[in-house]
Symmetry: C2
Subunit: 297 residues, 2 copies
């Protein structure tokens, strides 16, 4: 009998996506990007995304309820950011133990609300149930002007590859308090029109692979160019999940302009015809094995 741990998270997602053939004139993007994209207003699309966090998997006993609430919204905001969009409305599903203190719930909501306020997101309800483990799901809508919508599949050969911020920080706890790159994404789509974009949720290599697969191209990245957190190894930065920085590609024209970016971005490589290649300081191929954080393994 085949188990989930045999095919892994990515195998499962592929399996689900392949079974879902969407034929609907209202659906611009179904499964396969950071959010779903639907027809909406004359000039903009509706974005829909959802993320679930489970106790002992996405947060442990050391996480404060404030951090849990913050993170549950932040991971969704990061998905909206990766489309170039503006987050709008959230629905919160909470599974809580009967012995949970009211104080815990209040603090968790404070975590959600303080981040929501920062990005003008409104929480419009949800569902609250009893659960033997704490679990929180947030579903979030957003909108994006048609001209700013940025998918994973638009990278072109010769495009330069960039990341925002610094990688590897999630290991030292950043994943519980990160600021999703919504403002940075808006700056990027308005000024540099990225050809493809994704948020780094499963590690640089895994998410770069997604962009390459969707764009049907490859990538070459340079070890020495990758912006690393202190105390973090290159391998951690490449494969650790939950950095929630943006990974994107720019055409040559905008790559030139991007040198004066007001947002902290670093060029780390370029889009190629096929295969993902990492070059070390001497220009030699680094063998790649791990693919980033994979649930079920």
């Amino acid at each position: 009998m085949k188990l989930l741990k045999d095919i892994g998270e990515f195998g499962l997602i592929k399996r689900i996506a392949e079974a879902e053939k969407i034929f609907d004139k209202e659906v611009i993007v179904g499964i396969g990007d950071d959010t779903a994209v639907l027809k909406y207003k004359k000039d903009c699309y509706l974005l829909l995304t959802t993320d679930i966090l489970v106790e002992n998997i996405h947060f442990d006993k050391k996480a404060t309820p404030f951090q849990i609430g913050w993170k549950a919204l932040a991971v969704n905001l990061s998905d909206i950011a990766a489309m170039g969009g503006i987050p709008k409305y959230g629905l919160v599903s909470l599974g809580l133990k009967k012995e949970t203190s009211i104080n815990f719930v209040d603090e968790l909501y404070q975590g959600i609300r303080s981040l929501a306020k920062k990005f003008k997101v409104k929480i419009l309800g949800g569902d609250t149930v009893s659960s033997p483990r704490t679990v929180i799901n947030i579903a979030l809508t957003g909108e994006v002007e048609k001209k700013y919508l940025t998918l994973r599949n638009g990278a072109k050969i010769g495009n330069k590859i960039y990341v925002t911020g610094i990688l590897g920080g999630s290991i030292s706890g950043k994943h519980l308090s990160f600021i999703p790159r919504v403002k940075e994404a808006r700056y990027l789509v308005k000024n540099f029109h990225p050809t493809a974009m994704i948020d780094i949720s499963d590690g640089l290599l895994a998410d770069l692979k997604r962009v390459c697969e969707r764009s049907k191209l490859g990538a070459r990245i340079y070890q020495k160019k990758i912006p690393l957190s202190k105390e973090v190894s290159l391998e951690d930065a490449l494969t650790a999940g939950e950095d929630f920085e943006l990974l994107f590609s720019l055409s040559r024209k905008y790559a030139h302009l991007a040198k004066s970016s007001k947002v902290h971005i670093t060029q780390i490589g370029e889009i190629t015809k096929k295969g993902i290649v990492l070059l070390d300081e001497k220009g030699k191929n680094v063998p790649l094995s791990k693919e980033g954080f994979n649930h079920f393994r």
Copy 2:
């Protein structure tokens, strides 16, 4: 220290709702109805809802994966129905044990898809993570013509109160395979313009109380008129959750027309000025204590 089980699910929802003051011209209804309601197209509103199911709470080991998937979508469809709306797009969040067989996941998705197909709902993605207990959250959008939107707060004194179908069936397992009343709701809003509507998810009394609270009125219901499942006591029908029938009120004009309804509905009482009163066969007050299924207690 105050615990969740001290204030219960309804206390918690009230606490959350009171903290969320929504001032947003795009939001027609925030917290406090079966779904959130947003501005959308010229003639219709966008509906948003979400529901989470947790192993051993909403389904047990006897439930097949097909039933779990079916129920996860059905409870959301029921919320869209209660607004008079048409369900559209779903996002599925799944928390699964590592030892889950691929077969389990495939069957669970078959449960979701067969119900989705029945109501022309498209699944546009979601999130899949590892979890020590099976948990599934579905977020669903819908749309409703402005003229058909039916809220909980519109009941008027003298309105007749109705339910669809037969109550109490959830106890014998119906809650795992019920057909959400989407078609019935559409028939009702088109033909009888209900003044208020809700789906019975926490028991007739608890959900009637919600309509009365939101409409700032009361209700009188007649024991002998309540349509009961065989093998189910009156108390079960009044207080058992997960019937997922519709409870609604009609003005006198439409109550007259409703006698020839093509959908199975039963008049069970009327809206009054205040208080919820249940009358037995002899017209005597039945003392009411329980309020229906309440998580955390």
